[in-house]
């Protein structure tokens, strides 16, 4: 047990009997960018709330920076930054006032606080809007401000619950860029998100939770390797697609000549081939098809993605909730009641 976050056999049962977390164990090393993924209702937010001392655990143990979440809550709160799923800023206060208030509550005062706030406003690109009320900010700006308020006291660990959900792609990219930079400066980041591409790119390790249990954990590379196969997509020239002859011919050829192919399925442009080390197969396939006079119009290899990993372990595709017109309609009809 040497991690900056150590969780062992953690259980949370709510008052109504709901078992949100059913004995999970994991640890996060100092300086790590750790992804905590799972479908809705998997127990992610509950776990974050316990680790950030906002909720009491039922059993098991959990410590942050060596402090027990139950007995040393006050010490933990001094060194963590927490961003909730919903953007939380006081809309009646300006951006700067929001940050100053948060700093004061973190017991940083005076000139040190002022300088820190100026510095952070620069980092999150809110210098020009700093003295406008947060109520006038766009969604992306509010999210950036919210993130900045969690950083005023220079936390060692940042807990982020869906920090980019509901943002436009540009704001999303900006937030991810800040997080990358923060992590490079040595801040440990514990994040839940639905954006698997970013997880793949930034997280050093991740855990997937489903129904209150951890179903997989490891580096993105390890988890993808478990899937076992790359996919090679082959596109045939239009003229040779007639009657499906080419397709069958190609299928026969692939199955006879190549080892290590685990599956061949039809696709709308031709065939998709699943195989280990797909990259090495590509030149051989091209040569074989050339000899057999099968005209290829395209060929592409893709490694398994975290999407495939997520699907394998949870049986669900991760759903990214985009802000769409349908969502807006939903919001309004709910309000009207």
């Amino acid at each position: 047990m040497t991690g900056i976050i150590d969780v062992s056999q953690l259980v949370k049962t709510y008052g109504d009997g709901t078992k949100a977390v059913k004995g999970i164990s994991f640890n996060v090393s100092e300086g790590e960018f750790f992804g905590f993924l799972g479908p809705n209702g998997a127990g992610k937010s509950t776990t974050i709330k316990i680790l950030t001392t906002l909720l009491r655990k039922t059993s098991g143990s959990a410590s942050v920076a060596g402090f027990d979440v139950d007995s040393d809550g006050a010490k933990i709160r001094k060194i963590i930054g927490v961003q909730n799923q919903d953007t939380v800023v006081d809309e009646d206060l300006t951006g700067r006032e929001n940050m100053i208030l948060q700093g004061e509550l973190q017991q940083i005062h005076g000139q040190a606080l002022k300088e820190r706030v100026d510095e952070l406003l620069k980092i999150v690109d809110l210098v020009d809007a700093a003295d406008k009320r947060a109520g006038f900010y766009s969604g992306g700006m509010k999210k950036r401000l919210d993130l900045a308020t969690t950083l005023v006291h220079d936390p060692k660990i940042l807990f982020l619950d869906e920090p980019t959900t509901g943002l436009d792609p540009q704001s999303r990219a900006a937030i991810w860029a800040y997080l990358k930079r923060l992590n490079e400066q040595g801040i440990t980041i514990f994040i839940t998100t639905q954006y698997l591409e970013e997880v793949d790119r930034l997280c050093r390790r991740l855990a997937i939770v489903d129904l209150g249990e951890i179903v997989a954990q490891g580096t993105p590379g390890e988890l993808k390797q478990e899937i076992g196969a790359d996919s090679i997509s082959l596109g045939f020239e239009n003229s040779t697609m007639n009657g499906g002859d080419t397709r069958n011919k190609a299928k026969n050829l692939l199955e006879k000549k190549f080892n290590g192919i685990s599956n061949v399925v039809n696709s709308d442009i031709g065939l998709t081939v699943y195989a280990k080390n797909g990259g090495f197969l590509v030149p051989e396939i091209v040569r074989a098809f050339d000899e057999a006079k099968i005209g290829l119009s395209s060929i592409g290899v893709s490694s398994p993605t975290l999407d495939d990993v997520f699907l394998k372990h949870t049986g669900k595709r991760i759903r990214v909730e985009e802000v769409s017109s349908a969502n807006y309609r939903g919001m309004f009809s709910r309000r009207r009641r």
């Binding site: 709160r77 927490v82 909730n84 939380v88 006081d90 206060l93 006032e97 208030l101 509550l105």
Partner: protein, 262 residues
Amino acid sequence: MSFFSDSYHLFIRWMKKLVRNPILVFFSLFQPIIFLVLFTQLFSQFGSLLGGVDYTKFATAGIVLQNAFSSAFQSGTSVVDDIKSGFLTKMLATPVNRSAILFGRILSDIFRVAVQTIIILALAYALGVYPQTGVAGYLLIILTVGFFGLAWSGISLALGLKTKSGETVFGIAGFLTFPLLFMSTALVGQPAMPPWMQNVSSYNPISFAVNAIRSLIMPPPQCIICTNVFDWTTILQAYGVIALIGVATLGATLYLFRKIVS
């Protein structure tokens, strides 16, 4: 100790929010001012019914208290807003002193009620109402109203924390305001009430506070021309009743708040 500095910073937060939403001040001041300017004209004949007193003078005590009423009831709704928006959770994830979260809000309520009371008293002064007890009277009135506002905030805070619904707090506040106000000595003296209402008003906590404030503004009935008469029995009785309410409502608030934050 972070309790005082945290309370101060959160007090400042609430004051900024209030100043930037003047409509809230307007709403809680509007009714008392309408009462002071129009209602007192409409019911000026009441004065003779109550033994030949100036009705504006008589009603000022009730109106000052009515103002404390309506602003205290906004207290609960803003705490509900903080719970719903997640701002409370955000604060709780910091080392902020837990009690300061509540105390900062209560301080801002007292301050606000005091300022609104001064506005109403200034307006009343323009209409010829000034306390027979002078400057000390003014100070005591503001103190009493602030103290009353504090106890009354507790009701809306407890309701807000219990129901976590701003609408409920608002509904109950609206439901309570008029019966409590009209079945007290706030706007009409007991001699003008039917007997059953006289009984109700004798036990109505509002009456105690109103009577104390009124005693500071108007001399006792038996000596119309007296000045500087402090009716300490009435005043202390009021403070006793307010303290009882305060202990109950703020105790409930504290209990419910602890349940949320721990």
